[in-house]
Amino acid sequence: MIATKPLLSLKDIHKTYQIGHTPIEVLKDIDFDIHPGEYVAIMGPSGSGKSTMLNILGLLDVPDKGSYHLNDREVANLGDHDLAAVRNKEIGFIFQSFNLFPQYDVLSNIMVPMLYARMSRQERQDRAEALAERVGLSHRLYNRPSQLSGGEMQRVAIARALSIDPPLILADEPTGNLDQQRGEEILDIFDGLIDAGKTIIMVTHNSEYQSRVQKVLKMRDGCLVV
């Protein structure tokens, strides 16, 4: 491993959920660094804490304890305003069920994060078209999600995640709703992103993907297993 400064580093992260009166410790003593350009898979059985981990990494959830440095900045206890800005500019989200907006066409879906970044109309348009081309959807710009296949929808979601050019991509089971071939296509796009210098953290069940990533974080019962 090259000795660069880590892109993100988690130290002693704990997260407990209260279910009824029973506290459930979902994450315990999580400690790891991820460097720029790394391709990481988080794997583990259901209920092992993968999703919570991804939510914390994506700043959608806050840890009870521990510190989270992203790009040299403590982000574990930011306010709504700053959290939104970090999510917008430094993290790209890709979801298992795509989470596209059914009321917008492909181009407008890709533009949503740019709206929150207050980019000009022209810049949004140009970037969205370029991104659609990059994921091979130039011919689908004005289609609604309901007119697309699953693979196409996930490619729109990837274009959307890339729209602010964030260093970190978080993908939650990105191939979970796709067949083998479409899943492979998505992973091919991810390979291209890694080559372009992005950092990808992907939660997956599929052990076949172990060979395609650089680093696997295995989780069991809220802990990392080496």
Binding site: L60, A84, R87, N88, F95, Q103, P113, L115, Y116
Partner: protein, 416 residues
């Protein structure tokens, strides 16, 4: 997000659920239509009423003899009916001399007489015997010649002044000045023709354009009624007294004083008092009640419309939780979500407001055409409805939008 982006985002969101949007808008459409029609019709009615009252003259009081026959003895009512004298000429003098604020005062007799032109044609016009001051009292102007003057009265002259319409029906297109007409079986010389006036109330409903005026003293003389009593008081009966006050502020005290005086003389039933100012006040308060009722109805319609909007927006929020979560993940602040949903509610209600204005305008025109009511369509009337709609949208959209903003992202993303 700037305003244009926010509007286009809202329109895309609303258009996606267009059937629901249309339903949600209905309440607002009817509310705004009600507000607008209410304003246009109400304002129109008010305008007309005020214009009508203005010709009454708000600084005048009219007294009229009531020809009631009072029963003195109930047991033998056939014989005991006594006709009360009503107003007398000396009452005029009493009012002028004893009550403050009188600018002009005139007495009148309304005669039941046939009028014949010198060619012997009978014409259906009224004859009013009055004083020279009557002209100033009602502000009448002449087309030609002069009005009656004091000399006519002193000399018991057989002079008359005729209204424009009466002149036309008696003399056709000939110049009436200097011509004679037959009134009360005597020839009268026309000395003047009155111009058109709007005054229709000074003589309680008589159209002054269709009246012939003769000197009051002449009329009393011809009738053979005694003019003075033993104390040299003018006791001739008259039908009306018209009082023009210096200003409207004297109206109320004068009315009180007259009533007290008539009451003291036990003549309260002998005459009726007509006070245009009081009628105006009465009409104003009726209008106020009408406006209040209409405003309440319009307000309730808008309230119902607002509740409709709130209902739909709450349904939108719970249905779009996953969208909200995704937006938060993509960088939306709570404020952005709040703003988005508030904006949607206002665009929704503004759209309803526009439709409501169209419907309200149609309603107003329909009322104007079928009922023949006066209506007043102004930009102010139209914008009140529209602004009320947008405010309703914001007020009733705020709470659902707040719910949307407070959605926890991870729960929202888990939502199906």
């Amino acid at each position: 997000m700037n305003i244009i982006d926010a509007v286009s985002v809202s329109i895309a969101d609303l258009y996606f659920r267009r059937f629901r949007t249309a339903l949600a808008t209905l309440g607002i459409v009817f509310g705004v239509a009600a507000v607008q029609a209410m304003l246009c019709i109400g304002e129109g009615a008010k305008e007309e009423a005020l214009a009508g009252i203005a010709t009454l003259g708000v600084d005048k009081i009219f007294l009229r003899t009531e020809l009631v026959e009072k029963t003195l003895d109930e047991e033998d009512s056939e014989i005991a009916k006594v006709e009360r004298p009503g107003l007398l000429l000396k009452d005029c003098q009493h009012i002028r001399e004893n009550m403050p604020g009188v600018e002009h005062i005139a007495a009148a007799r309304i005669l039941k007489s046939s009028v014949f032109s010198m060619q012997g044609r009978e014409t259906a016009v009224s004859v009013v015997a009055t004083n020279a001051i009557y002209q100033q009292l009602v502000g009448a102007t002449m087309t030609s010649g002069r009005f009656l003057n004091d000399l006519d009265e002193q000399r018991l002259a057989n002079h008359c002044v005729i209204g424009k319409k009466a002149a036309r029906s008696i003399f056709l297109f000939n110049d009436p000045i200097g011509k004679h007409i037959d009134i009360l079986g005597m020839p009268f010389t026309v000395v003047g023709v009155l111009d058109n006036t709007n005054d229709t109330t000074a003589l309680a409903g008589t159209d002054i354009d269709d009246v012939i005026f003769i000197p009051l003293a002449t009329a009393i003389n011809v009738s053979g009624d005694p003019y003075f009593d033993e104390q040299n008081q003018p006791i001739a009966q008259i039908d009306a007294i018209m009082v023009d006050l210096e200003s409207a502020k004297f109206v109320q005290p004068m009315a009180l004083r007259l009533r007290r005086w008539l009451d003291k003389e036990n003549r309260i039933g002998d005459c009726s008092m007509q006070i245009p100012l009081a009628i105006l006040r009465q009409q104003e308060s009726t209008k106020r009640i009408f406006s209040l009722v209409m405003t309440t109805i319009a307000g309730i319609s808008l309230l119902v419309g607002g509740i409709g909007i709130m209902n739909i927006m709450l349904a939108n929020v719970s249905e779009r939780k996953r969208e909200i979560g995704t937006r938060r993940a993509l960088g939306a602040r709570q404020r952005d979500i709040l703003f988005q949903f508030c904006f949607e509610a206002s665009v929704l209600s503004a759209f309803g407001g526009l439709l409501g204005i169209a419907l309200g305008y149609g309603l107003t025109l329909a009322v104007a055409n079928y009922a023949g009511w006066p209506v007043l369509v102004t930009l102010a009337n139209i914008s009140v409805g529209f602004i009320a709609a947008v405010i309703t949208g914001i007020v009733f959209g705020y709470w659902p939008a707040k719910q949307a903003a407070q959605v926890v992202p991870i729960e929202a993303l888990r939502a199906a």
